[in-house]
C-alpha cells in the first residue's frame, strides 16, 4: 500500500473516532440545556452606562418559565450578575414570555421562553474605574419542562467582558473663537 493511501485511511479512521466520541458525549448529556451566545464586547465610557444584551437559546423541544411566570409556584428565569468593583449592573430587562398551552394542560396558558430570547442589563462604569477590559460573571437560573415532564431548576454560569474607555474629549480649534465678535465698524 502506498504511504499516501495509508495516510488517507488513517486520517479517515481518526476523524471517525473523533466523531463517534463527540456523538457519545452528546448522547450522554441529559436534560434540557439553555446556552448563552458569545456576547459582543460592549464599550462603556467612564461615568456612563451601556446596555449589554445577553442572547440565550433554549434547546428545541423544551420551554422555560419566563421572568414573570403565570403561577406563583413556578420558578422564574432570573439573571444574577456579580460585577467587579467600580462597575455597577442594574435595570435588567427580560422579554415578555410567550403565552403557550402545552399537551399536559391544554386549557392553561403558561408564560414561557422557547427558542431564542434576549435579556438586557445595564452596566455602568464609575468614573474611578481604570480603562480596560473587565469580566462580569453571573448565573441564569431557569427551570425547564417539555411536553410531559419537568427538570429540576438549573443554573447556567454567565461570563462576558466589557471594555471601559475614557470619555472622548472634543478638541476645540483654537483658531475658531467660540465668542462671536461684533463686526468692526469701519
Amino acid at each position: 500500500m502506498k504511504p499516501q493511501l495509508r495516510f488517507s485511511i488513517a486520517s479517515i479512521a481518526f476523524a471517525l473516532l473523533v466523531l463517534s466520541c463527540a456523538a457519545q458525549e452528546v448522547a450522554t448529556q441529559k436534560g434540557p440545556t439553555v446556552r448563552l451566545a458569545p456576547p459582543a464586547l460592549t464599550s462603556i465610557t467612564q461615568g456612563k452606562s451601556m446596555p449589554v444584551e445577553l442572547q440565550f437559546r433554549v434547546e428545541n423541544g423544551f420551554h422555560i418559565n419566563s421572568n414573570q411566570p403565570s403561577e406563583k409556584y413556578l420558578i422564574p428565569t432570573a439573571l444574577t450578575l456579580d460585577p467587579p468593583t467600580d462597575l455597577v449592573v442594574g435595570g435588567t430587562t427580560y422579554p415578555p414570555g410567550k403565552e403557550a398551552a402545552f399537551a399536559f394542560a391544554p386549557d392553561e396558558k403558561l408564560s414561557v421562553y422557547t427558542g431564542d430570547f434576549t435579556v438586557t442589563t445595564n452596566v455602568r462604569a464609575m468614573t474611578s474605574v481604570l480603562p480596560g477590559k473587565y469580566e462580569i460573571r453571573g448565573r441564569l437560573k431557569y427551570q425547564a419542562c417539555d411536553n410531559a415532564q419537568c427538570y429540576p431548576p438549573k443554573t447556567l454560569p454567565i461570563q462576558f467582558e466589557v471594555k471601559v474607555v475614557k470619555p472622548t474629549v472634543i478638541k476645540k480649534n483654537p483658531a475658531q473663537s467660540p465668542h462671536e465678535h461684533p463686526p468692526t465698524s469701519q
Binding site: 495509508r6 409556584y73 420558578i75 419542562c145 410531559a148 427538570y151 429540576p152
Partner: protein, 189 residues
C-alpha cells in the same frame, strides 16, 4: 529497524485521542444511577417526614397497594395528575390503595403544604430527600410514579405525565383487580 512515519502518526493520534477521552471521563461528575436498586423486586424502603411531622416508612404500608409519586410544586405536569390521584384515592382507598406523594422540592414545608391544600390532596405528602430519589433511579425529572403491590414489589413505573386511563390500569394491576372492571364512581372524566 525502519519505522513507518504513518504508523507513528496513527499511534500518536490514537494515544492523544485516548488521553483526551480519559481526561473527559475523569472531569465528568459521577452520573447518578438510573437503575433502581431492588432486592427481589421489592421497592426500596425509606423513611421520610410527612408534612404533618410524622415519620413514615414505605414498609409501614405493606398489605396495601402503594402509588409512590415524586413531584414538586414547580412541576406543571405534576399538577395535572394530582387531582386524578385525589379522585383515585377516594375511589380505590377502600380496596387498599394508598397514594404517597414525595415532594422533591426546594420550597419550604409551609409552601409545599399550601400547595397541597390548594390541590385538595387527600394522601400523605412526604418531604423528599435526594438519597431516596437515588434509590429510585435518580429522579432526574418529574413526575415519576412507581406502582408497588401489596407485597411491596415494584410492579411498574411511569416517567413523566401519563394518561389517566393508564394510571387507573396500573392501579388495578397493583390492587389485583380485573382491568376490565369499571368501578362506577363520582369521577369526572
Amino acid at each position: 529497524m525502519k519505522r513507518d512515519p504513518v504508523i507513528i502518526l496513527i499511534v500518536a493520534m490514537m494515544v492523544s485521542l485516548m488521553l483526551v477521552f480519559a481526561l473527559n471521563v475523569v472531569r465528568r461528575p459521577p452520573k447518578k444511577t438510573t437503575a433502581i436498586q431492588t432486592k427481589n423486586g421489592e421497592a426500596p424502603d425509606f423513611t421520610l417526614q410527612s408534612l404533618d411531622g410524622k415519620t413514615i416508612k414505605l414498609s409501614d404500608f405493606r398489605g396495601k397497594a402503594v402509588v409512590l409519586n415524586f413531584w414538586a410544586t414547580w412541576c406543571e405536569p405534576c399538577k395535572v395528575e394530582m387531582p386524578w390521584f385525589v379522585e383515585f384515592q377516594k375511589q380505590y382507598g377502600s380496596d387498599g390503595l394508598q397514594f404517597l406523594g414525595v415532594a422533591m422540592d426546594d420550597a419550604s414545608p409551609k409552601e409545599i403544604s399550601g400547595f397541597a391544600t390548594d390541590m385538595g390532596v387527600n394522601y400523605p405528602i412526604l418531604l423528599g430527600k435526594e438519597a431516596v430519589g437515588d434509590e429510585y433511579g435518580g429522579v432526574q425529572f418529574l413526575p415519576e410514579t412507581f406502582y408497588i403491590d401489596r407485597d411491596g414489589k415494584l410492579v411498574d413505573r411511569a416517567f413523566g405525565l401519563r394518561g389517566r386511563g393508564e394510571i387507573e390500569t396500573n392501579i388495578k394491576k397493583i390492587l389485583g383487580l380485573n382491568p376490565a372492571t369499571t368501578k362506577t364512581s363520582q369521577l369526572t372524566q
